[in-house]
């Protein structure tokens, strides 16, 4: 099997990985880096559990060839919190709003909300639903997820930091 060595930036650190041509980003993050926050669930880009950011844009990691990560900047849920264990305001808002039950989909939702708030710091309900329409929560915590998104937006605006 053809193995290629690629270099990219993962959660702010320069890294290299050996990838096989058929592997997707989730395969690589799991096997080469032990990162399990982004999960392949539907495998079709529909459920959002595999959401990661490539060059600042949210993508479905399950539909993205790992090989194409060469030279990019990849950010995952594991890179959101501070080194001292403090959570990102979006993560904290999900906890405070009770925006999950089993938590399987939560990393994907949090990464989508990060994208949403970067694009629109004060999103309407419609905009929130539009951005999150490609994320499925089978515990159906949707009302709380919308509330968490608004809570995060308010806190970030109050703190004046992204």
């Amino acid at each position: 099997m053809t193995t290629r060595h690629i270099s990219f930036t993962l959660n702010g650190r320069a890294v290299t990985a050996s990838v096989q041509p058929h592997e997707n980003l989730i395969d690589m993050l799991t096997t080469a880096f032990g990162l399990r926050g982004a999960r392949e669930s539907c495998g079709q880009g529909l459920c959002g559990c595999c959401t990661v950011h490539v060059d600042g844009q949210a993508v479905s990691g399950c539909l993205f060839l790992a090989d194409m990560a060469e030279g990019t900047r990849i950010d995952t849920i594991e890179g959101l919190g501070g080194a001292d264990g403090t959570l990102d305001p979006v993560q904290q808002a999900f906890i405070d709003a009770g925006a999950f039950q089993c938590g399987f989909c939560t990393p994907g939702f949090v990464m989508m909300v990060k994208t949403l708030l970067a694009d629109d710091p004060d999103p309407s309900d419609d905009t929130i639903r539009h951005y999150l329409s490609g994320n499925l929560c089978r515990c159906s915590a949707y009302p709380e997820i919308v509330a968490a998104t608004k809570l995060a937006a308010r806190r970030i605006a109050a703190e004046g930091r992204p």
């Binding site: 053809t2 290629r4 880009g45 529909l46 993508v59 479905s60 090989d67 194409m68 951005y131």
Partner: protein
């Protein structure tokens, strides 16, 4: 999965040199979202993928070119969605984006890949067809262009040969035309549509001066409904006329039944949405 290689050409000439006119297992890749699904489902076993992500203009971006707009094949759906030029020239494309897949897929999927995929359920190809757009295709023997309307030859089959790739879409500006795309899903919004119907028309007062209707999803390839267009062209779109156009459309469209509905059901949807679509664009 069998082994394959991935190439990243830096120029169009290099990209063409990696393709193979005699080998369908060598494919160009835009964002790869659709191709990944075909590989995962074992529908497609590549021996070589030619990733076009390092190619630049004219393969990327939206620009004005006289009475046309040109969109590079590697422009992502998100870039088209957020292009002020596209929103001003073709609001029907801008509006369709919001209900097309989701933000993540639009961030990666490309305009050219979306066309080359040849899936009749997709939202953009029938709209490009109704707008009179053409695909610019490069291959070993140079450049040619094919109207999007004529690009599709069967279910997942296009006029783009092995060894060729789509480089741009060229869309005529259509002053005075109004268009809408009606994506009719029967379950969730993000389901495949039972039918897709694009209506594009130019009005002269309250008469339809010219019109193009394109049906998608329920048929093997996006299809012009020329009989229904003929019924409508030159007339005021009153309820009687729209009913006749609906009958004509139903008679000429070889629709298929599937999990999204029976043929009878889709015929009903088609008639209803010809009426609603004309009401929508007729109001201006």
């Amino acid at each position: 999965m069998a082994d394959f290689t991935i190439e990243y050409p830096g120029t169009l000439a290099e990209a063409l040199s990696f393709l193979d006119p005699d080998d369908p297992s060598v494919r160009p890749v835009g964002g790869g979202t659709a191709l990944m699904l075909m590989m995962k489902s074992q529908m497609f076993h590549p021996t070589r993928l030619v990733c076009l992500s390092r190619l630049s203009e004219p393969m990327t971006g939206c620009r004005e070119d006289g009475d046309h707009i040109r969109i590079g094949a590697m422009t992502t759906l998100s870039q088209v969605e957020h292009s002020a030029l596209i929103a001003a020239e073709f609001p029907v494309i801008h509006n369709a984006m919001k209900n097309l897949a989701n933000v993540r897929v639009r961030n990666v999927a490309t305009i050219g890949g979306n066309l080359a995929h040849g899936d009749p359920h997709l939202d953009l190809p029938p709209i490009w067809a109704a707008l009179g757009a053409e695909a610019i295709i490069h291959g070993p023997s140079g450049q040619r262009s094919v109207k999007v309307e004529d690009l599709f030859q069967g279910y997942y089959e296009t006029d783009v040969a092995d060894g060729e790739l789509i480089t741009e879409i060229r869309v005529p500006r259509l002053p005075g035309w109004r268009a809408t795309y009606r994506k009719v899903t029967t379950r969730a919004l993000h389901d495949w549509p039972a039918i897709g119907l694009t209506l594009a028309a130019r009005f002269d007062g309250d008469r339809i001066a010219d019109i193009r209707l394109v049906l998608s999803a329920a048929v093997d390839i996006p299809q012009r409904l020329r009989g229904a267009e003929e019924v409508l062209r030159g007339h005021r779109p009153d309820a009687m006329l729209l009913a006749r156009a609906g009958d004509s459309a139903a008679a000429e469209a070889p629709m298929e039944h599937d999990s999204r509905g029976s043929v009878d059901y889709k015929v009903h949807l088609l008639k209803v949405h010809i009426l609603r679509g004309m009401n929508e664009i007729g109001k201006g």
